[in-house]
Amino acid sequence: MDIKLQQVSFAYSMGTPFEKRALFDVDLMIPSKTYQAIIGHTGSGKSTILQHFNGLLKPSEGEVHIGDRVIVAGKKAKELKPIRQKVGIVFQFPEHQLFEETVLKDIMFGPMNFGVSEEEAKKRARELISLVGLPDSVLEKSPFDLSGGQMRRVAIAGVLALQPEVIVLDEPTAGLDPRGQREIMDMFYQLHKEQGLTTILVTHSMEDAAKYADNLAIMHEGRCVLTGTPREIFADGKTLESYRLELPRIIKFQQKIENLIGKKLSKICLTEEELALEIASSVRRESDEQ
């Protein structure tokens, strides 16, 4: 399902003296089954933009295309519910949305809102609890007896239970320990590949964006200022800096090595493995020449 924003502007408290514009003329195309990262400094409008992807916010100007649905500014949009089943959002600190008596019921809440039968919802919950890396025994516990990290995983399972075609992630690993962060990000990437999900990751971690995303969009003060593949965007560190963003550590590391050996490697590497291989092949080439 493609998602397309056309000239989208958004203002909070429209028409009151407290009106505050958060988005200006944003154009963004997210093709089906791609992994899109949206990066920006705090207050750049990332969290506002993601609420447009399932109609939680309606644009003040412009159009939002979600699959074959179009949400146009100024027109009443009816029946947004089907969109919300297809576009799942994992909000920042999703553990705050847990409310049921048991983990099982909480995971079932979403699907049952969309008319999925109880048995089917139960089945999904059982599958998902192991997918997010928790033991089956958790299902019968109260979500409030779990640790913060476990609650996060339960909440994520609650969104995945909708079986969306598009999954939007807002800083899904904020506040987790490094291992938990990696596990969750890897899980989403695996889902993205295996189930052909369209994944939209809203983050300020350049490392995650470099590692997983097919396309990046840089937000700055409510505008989408830069789009492209990670390699295209990370080739120009100066521009990024002007948007108060830094290059990923791995690329800074590559630049240091290049300065040290006094020559450029043949491409920009986005992961440790890639960089290691690149350095190795560069060294080999050099010794071959001698």
Partner: protein
């Protein structure tokens, strides 16, 4: 949807009214509420209305905010006006339509009551619009200080009030966030039969309560860590200052009530 709420909001500024001491503003408003009831004829009500307009001008608050503050009580206003029109049977008949008779006094009293209502709402709105919640609680604490003699925990009450006021916006934001998260999971607060809608409140309230209690606990810890031990011997960071503006405004109010008493019938 929460962001549309104007009532009870503070709008910073530096008008005459903004710069008044919260104590004088509080005394003024409470006294004014009583003074409003002195008026009983066209001249006195006109005077009240003119005086309120004068205060609005002095506060440089845009009329938009005041009109908005009126919206929640609009039904009450219309209702009392209609009650007077329908049930007051004094004076000449102005208008007749079958059973339905409208008397002169009915219209007159209806308008008087409406003016009273509008004036009260405007003046109290101006108090909250021009005074930060913190100043209001400071003012209340100082004004209630004499009640300490009868063992009323004035400081604790003021603290509770300022904490409650402080967390209203936070809780509003929180409500908005959780509502959106549950809507993203297909819960629908605005559609369907009443029974379903009431059921849809549970996924909103439970997380809200959980986070409110957590927040309260964190706050208590943070206060204790910083050595909070009640109001005993506590000094103030914000000193209240009473100057000529405050005295003037109270003198003006006394003059107004004297004039109203003189002019009433």
């Amino acid at each position: 949807m929460m962001e549309k709420m104007i009532f009870g909001r503070y709008i910073p500024g530096d008008s005459f009214v903004h710069r008044l001491d919260p104590r004088s503003k509080l005394i003024f408003v409470f006294a004014f509420i009583i003074v409003v009831f002195i008026a009983n004829n066209t001249i006195t009500y006109g005077l009240l209305l003119a005086f309120t307009l004068f205060i609005i001008l002095m506060s440089r608050i845009r009329l938009y905010f005041l009109i908005n503050g009126l919206k929640p009580v609009l039904i009450l206003l219309v209702f009392t006006f209609l009650i007077h029109i329908i049930f007051n049977r004094e004076g000449n008949i102005v208008f007749e339509w079958g059973f339905f008779k409208v008397y002169e006094q009915g219209i007159r009293q209806g308008i008087y009551i409406s003016i009273r209502f509008v004036v009260l709402v405007f003046v109290t709105s101006i108090l909250t619009l021009t005074t930060s919640p913190i100043s209001i609680t400071d003012g209340i604490e100082v004004l209630l200080n004499p009640l300490k003699k009868i063992k009323l925990p004035v400081h604790e009450l003021a603290l509770m009030m300022s904490i409650a006021l402080r967390f209203i916006p936070t809780l509003m934001d929180e409500t908005d966030k959780i509502m959106k998260a549950q809507m993203a999971r297909g819960s629908d607060l605005s559609a369907g039969p009443l029974k379903d809608r009431i059921k849809a409140v549970v996924p909103l309230l439970v997380p809200l309560f959980v986070s409110a209690f957590k927040r309260a606990e964190d706050l208590a810890t943070a206060m204790e860590v910083r050595g909070y031990r009640g109001g005993e011997g506590r000094t103030r960071y914000r000193k209240l200052k009473w100057d000529w503006r405050d005295s003037t405004s109270l003198v003006v109010l006394v003059a107004l009530s004297a004039l109203l008493i003189y002019l009433r019938t």
